[in-house]
Amino acid sequence: MADILRLEAVRKSYNVGMPIETEVLHGIDLALRAGEFAALIGPSGSGKSTLLHLIGLLERPTAGRILIAGREIDALDEAGMTELRGRTLGFVFQFHHLLPEFTALENVMMPALIDQGRATRAMRERARGLLAKVGLADALDKKPSALSGGMQQRVAIARALAMNPPLVLADEPTGNLDSHTADDIFALLREFNRAEGSAFLIVTHDARLAAGCDRRIELMDGQLLAATV
């Protein structure tokens, strides 16, 4: 199968040109196959989130190439990046980042709403189905503030999958959940990986959860450990 993601000699520096310039990522080479379920592990400050933001097109690399679904992101303008972000990528963050003004159902509809500009019945049905799959069929019309942390993260996962993206990026999705809830969430991601065929790149500090992934990629001081690539 084709690679959904390719990184070649990717570098990222902050404060470029200033005395405090620091290089966080020192030449990353990485490929992820379609449908792969991978964990990105490493100590705090090693650059995991930074790498995820580069892949998520939220930041541009200082050097190197990034290809997502075969498209060179260097060649994309802001509009192209925005579109790729909306249609090809799904995000789950440690802090759920749901929109507090909207219900669970509306939050899950949001990516499709952004993509198509206005709400449709099909959108609503897909969101309803996703929420049912994450076990929240009864909480469709609840606002995030009325949901527990685990439930909020389930909504965020359903939202990440709303556009059926080929690549889902998750930054410590279980970071602030108890271990029991964390297992549930992880199982859910795995289920979506199998059912929908999306590739997952999941940042985690939890060795036990990482062990349950197809592949473990380890980042250390801004470099990937060769053995894990």
Binding site: G56, L58, T82, G86, F91, F93, H97, P100, L113, I114
Partner: protein, 406 residues
């Protein structure tokens, strides 16, 4: 509904307190703007109407004789010529019947009344007073200056040999309704009139000088057989009087003066009032704009995380910007709507609260539709403009910053 509208409406709806406050502010601002405009225009209209109850809106007369300079300029020598204005004779308007028909056909013109006027003296017993002869066609003149409404005795009936005079003149001459007075004109002709009524126009000078008589009598007394010296007219919009006068001058070649040209002080007062109103309006709009802008800026900062996640989900900066612009427009628009309602109540209330000396309302309880439309357009525009800075700020927000430190 488009994505941007859904977000804008929801953000406003969920921002309860902030939204309520800023809407209240905009509402009051718009209401004050409409109210003060309606009040000022009402006051001016009632002041103007009062002034105009004894005046024509436009008065047309024959052009003045231009004095001809006697000395010609010769060669390089410049001559200083002092030209004495010629003493003006009474002049009648050429073909006044045709001119009258022409005037009636002009836009805005409502009523037209030919008049022959000149000066003279009134005598009764051994009292004599300097007066102004006003030769009129009573039915027509009554529509310009409502003499019949201003009678204190008798009736406004001036058949041949009859006249009505002001109460001051009546007192000066010791005359009452039914008495006879003798009028001597500046052309040295005289005639006797029986008084059929006394009027009080509210202006002493007019009450002391005017003698209203049939047009024919004035014509013969002033030696202007069949001629009229003036044509007075009224217009439907008193503030259009100057334009009408200008039009008459260019169309007929006659001299036409609007009430505005005659009452320059009143007009200057109006202009000053208008400037005051404009200043108040500008400042109100500024306050409204600052209020909307400050609330939106706070909202943008509060929603930093959400904006970041919306960006990550594929919302372009341009669309994020639109979400906040729409909020500004909605606040302005609904403020205009509510403000119009409030202003309507205020003006209605003021029409009862503000009374003139005679107990009639100083302003009418109605507001012209154009005020509402203007206020609405200006409020929406103000809302949009006020939202520009916050919206740009929202669009520029770095999604990573929002997500990383969320």
């Amino acid at each position: 509904m488009p994505f941007e509208w859904i977000l804008a409406l929801r953000f406003l709806r969920e921002g309860r307190m902030q939204t309520a406050l800023i809407m209240a502010g905009t509402t009051v601002g718009v209401a004050v703007i409409i109210f003060i405009t309606a009040l000022m225009n009402g006051l001016q209209a009632s002041l103007a109407t009062r002034t105009l109850s004894t005046q024509a809106h436009v008065s047309v007369r024959a052009p003045d004789d231009a004095p001809t300079p006697v000395l010609e300029r010769a060669g390089a020598t410049s001559v200083v010529a002092h030209i004495e204005p010629r003493v003006q004779r009474l002049r009648s308007i050429d073909q006044w019947q045709r001119v009258t028909r022409e005037l009636v056909a002009l836009p805005h013109v409502v009523d037209v009344s030919p008049i022959t006027t000149g000066s003279g003296f009134a005598f009764r017993g051994n009292a004599s007073k300097s007066i102004a002869l006003m030769g009129v066609i009573p039915e027509r003149y009554d529509r310009i200056v409502k003499v019949s409404d201003k009678l204190t005795a008798g009736q406004f009936r001036v058949g041949p040999g009859e006249a009505v005079i002001g109460i001051e003149l009546a007192r000066d001459l010791g005359a009452a309704v039914g008495d006879r007075i003798r009028i001597l004109s500046s052309e040295n002709r005289d005639d006797v009139f029986r008084l059929t009524g006394l009027f009080d126009l509210g202006v002493k000078d007019l009450n002391r000088r005017w003698v209203i008589m049939p047009l024919r009598s004035a014509q013969s007394l002033l030696d202007l057989s069949g001629g009229v010296t003036h044509i007075d007219l009224t217009v439907d919009d008193i503030f259009a009087a100057e334009d009408v006068a200008t039009r008459i001058v260019s169309q007929t070649g006659l001299t036409a003066e609007s009430w505005m040209a005659i009452n320059t002080q009143l007009l200057t007062a109006f202009k000053n009032q208008n400037m005051t109103t404009r200043t108040v309006r500008v400042f109100m709009l500024l306050i409204v704009a600052l209020g909307i802008a400050s609330v939106l800026v706070v909202s943008v900062v509060q929603k930093q995380r959400e904006i970041g996640i919306l960006r990550a989900m594929g919302a372009s900066p341009r669309r994020i910007m639109r979400v906040f612009l729409i909020q500004g427009g909605i606040v302005g628009g609904s403020g205009a709507l509510l403000g119009s309602g409030l202003a309507t109540l205020m003006v209605y209330g003021a029409s009862f609260a503000l009374l003139q000396d005679d107990g009639s309302a100083l302003i009418s309880g109605r507001i012209e539709a154009s005020y509402y439309l203007t206020a609405a357009a200006v409020a929406v525009l103000t809302g949009l403009l006020a939202a520009v800075a916050p919206a740009r700020r929202a669009a520029k927000m770095d999604p990573v910053e929002a997500i990383r430190y969320g």
